[in-house]
């Protein structure tokens, strides 16, 4: 029987954080400001170019 299920991997890991390529923090903040929702947006560096 193939069914859906409460799997953490697809349901709590995927869809995750947004990775965006930007030159600096200011640009990242500009992008983050356009996102909907009243929740806070956290900006974290992943790779430094």
């Amino acid at each position: 029987m193939v069914t859906d299920g409460p799997y953490i991997e697809s349901k709590e890991v995927i869809g995750g954080y947004a990775e965006v390529e930007v030159a600096d923090l200011d640009e990242a903040l500009e992008i983050a400001k356009t996102w909907p929702g009243q929740m806070g947006v956290e900006v974290r560096p992943v790779v430094e170019h």
Binding site: T3, G5, Y7, E9, V13, I14, W35
Partner: protein, 379 residues
Amino acid sequence: MVRLIGNFDVAEEVVQDSLLAALETWPVHGIPEKPGAWLMTAARRRAIDVLRRDKRYAEKVALLERSTVASDPPEADDRLRLIFTCCHPALAPESQVALTLRAVAGFTTQEIAAAFLVAEPTMAQRIVRAKRKIVEANIPYRVPQGPELIPRVDAVLAVLYLMFNEGYLSHSPAAAMRRDMAENALWLTGLLATLLPDQAEVLGLLALMKLHAARARARFDAAGEMVLLPDQDRSLWNRAGIAEGIDVLHAAAALGVTGPYQLQAAIAAVHAEASSWEETDWAQIVVLYDALLRLTDTPVVRLNRAVALSRFASPQVALGEVNDLAISLGGYHLFHATRAELLDEMGQKALAREARLRALELCQNPAERSLLERKLRAS
């Protein structure tokens, strides 16, 4: 009502009628002291009216009239007995589960279709056929006893699992998570565990639910947006609840019969025991998924294993596995969302966007949709 009347369609009709009556009466006269008993009485009265229309049910009318006098609320384990009764072996396992979700858990056809990863019309047909079979075969709605009970446990567990799943992350556009549905499933599974304490998979499912429920507070923020695992505030996790879940899992393992629910609980336990996202033991999770695959090789299990694999190995390796599932999971939004995520990690932005748009088309849950939309705006 199904137990009382012995007919799904009439039971459905009268329950809906009595709910309507409640909606009309309660705001005017106030909510009665025992809403459940009120609804049962209203449904019984309505059932008498409906059944009177049909002479075949003459005997049952007399029965119902007698029981109207004692309008105590249904016993606490009424639903559990009803689930057992509906999971009738004359039906194929999938139909047992689908029909029970419809009749007892109050799922819509759309929600059942999503739980089984099939199109809604397909599921609607299956339910109609299952109902007809029950009517034609004149299958009694009685509670199985003794040796009849155990063979039905698998289907009952599947019903409770899917009820919990719907509560954990809903398939309907109305709510992101349905706490009451998850709590009901957890409560009923706990009850089943006290009735069948030697069934390892009953305990396994109970452990799985406890481990998920213990993390529930951290999964959504105040605005109702999803908070994904890497960003969850682990101090909001209920440590006592996690410990309880792990205890139950140990009790299940001690019975010496492994099974899919125990393995899923073990995977949830690895996450629940990680002190941070970075500390997650992905190698262990992949091993557990491998064991799960040996027991139930389904595309949904493979998809989730691939997500773990992307952390343990690489997104390229994971994407290869995910792409193999395209035919079986083409209608499942999490297949496309997973592809999008892996493609993003590999820098394939255009393909990722395409996959994410497809995921959005297939997704109903408001919080999941909001997440996908946010990611699309960022791409």
